[in-house]
Amino acid sequence: MTDVLATLSRDRIFYLFVAPFAALTILFGVWPILLSIQVSFTASATALRPNPTYVGLANYAAVLADPIFLASLGRTLLYTLLSVVANLAFALGFAILLDSRLLKRGSLFFRLAIFLPVITPDVAGYVVWRWLYDRSFGALNAFLTLVGLPPFGGLSSVDTAMLAILIAELWHHAGFYMIIFLANLSIRDRALEEAAHIDGATTWQRWRYVILPQLRPALVINSVYALIQFLKTFTVVVVMTKGGPSDQTNFVSYYAYQLFDQARYGEATAMATILFAIVIVLSLTAYRLGDREPGQ
């Protein structure tokens, strides 16, 4: 007991330092999350009252039996998979290009051009993309018509809406993954490549067996970040499609928000908890897989 007291007094000033950080974390992080989980076990109509009616897992059962939610979850996972692959492939490809000796000059310009969308407010970026895709105002279809190509359905067609927002989101996010690959490429051991070259390795073999394994840290970080990023895709839907056409872009985040807007608090928070669980499980899995030594 005296030990504890001694520690406390010696560390007192650190408690002072951490207090505002802890207060904000608890007030606007831990508390709302616990509140959200609590609400997910109550009947929506009573959720906001001081003594809500607890309904056990009824909201979760309702959500998991809701065909719109299941379709939405499936589309969210599909969209996440496609986005992660597209973004990482683009970012890695462009990082390799910028890092190569092929581009002696102008590398900074290219890097700035790809990164600028990352710091551009997403609402502004997506508003511009929404109108770029527009059939009457949009530059995209005007251009396609000009060069004699068939028009792109963009946001209004069931077949292309998901692709259209995937492109807009890639524009906004890929620069971030690119600079992480670039940072990783710049700290790699170039002596190994020289050695491989002297041993007669082809360019492909050098990339596959010497450089790619050294990019594992960036690949792991980017995969985890991109997974978290695209599982919770929201802003682009609000700005560009409102979930349409025919629910094609009605991802879980947006669907949960719509239910919340209709005061269906119990189901909305149950969805939030389910999505949270998926984010944690998938990102931990990606992290574990990536962290494992090759051949293990």
């Binding site: 504890v4 520690t7 000033i13 650190f14 330092f17 951490v18 950080f21 802890a22 904000l24 974390t25 007030l27 606007f28 992080g29 831990v30 709302p32 999350i33 959200s36 609400v39 906001l48 190569s100 092929l102 581009l103 290219f110 890097r111 700035l112 051009a113 790809i114 990164f115 600028l116 969308p117 710091i119 551009t120 407010p121 997403d122 609402v123 970026g125 511009v128 993309w129 929404r130 109108w131 770029l132 009457s136 530059a139 005007a142 251009f143 524009w171 600079i179 670039l182 070259h197 840290p217 970080i221 970040y225 599982l231 700005v239 985040s253 928000y257 919340f260 939030a272 999505l275 949270f276």
Partner: protein, 281 residues
Amino acid sequence: MNEDIRPNRLLQALAYLVATGTSLLFLYPYWWMLVSAFRPTRAILSDPLRLWPETLSFRIFSEIGRIGGVELSTYIVNSLLITTLSTALGVIVTALGAYALVRRPKAPGFSLVRYGFLVTIMYPYMLLVIPVYLVMFKLGLLGSYAGIILFLALGPLQFFLFEQFFRKIPNEVIEAAVIDGASEWQILTRVVLPMAAPITATVALITFLLNWAQWFPIMVISRSPDTYTLPVALLSMNSELGTNFQGIMALAVLTTLPVALLFLFAQKRVMEGMAAGAVKG
């Protein structure tokens, strides 16, 4: 030797073609936004591809002087006020918090704070904002600048950058100060903070850029457009019926330009900082 390491001409030309083409595609939306802000809606409808406005008139910026019953200047002031104050608060609170957690990782309760923070940043952000509405209601902060600024203060990148920096301070530096009889307050203000000036500038810059772009928490915590910032105003204008296309593009320019210029001015610091903060997380 080294024949296939020395770039060949054709490959080099191809690399420039791909890099230039992709870069111009990435930049085109900015150009289209800028040009469209200076062209009447009717003109854009008849020729969306025009690369230069017919006439250079700034009248649109006075035409969108009121959006949703609120002066445009109010949104601009709100953006500056909310972004600056939440950045200042966030930098101070996060620096002190990360410093304490790094210096005393085993102090009772500290790992709980750290885990609480890590769980929070894993939670789908948009779905966190909804229960935050209830919390703001209970705290009486709904519709207030204080509520918005407090919520925007913390962020993962900021925390990881500070944590990473404080971990790298050699123990000897601090021990030497302890032996010299310095109090913890003196160690912080005379030893650690002067060393932390560059990282503080980086974190402040990145936080400013990120918080300027925020919209959902501001929309949810606000009770009226009086506390909206530029991105929120842009979103509500974009959702209105009856398209004022030119006005939307002009507002998008106002929302984008300040942070784009700030970024170009400090690009090295921003890109290096964001990469470093992410690598830690």
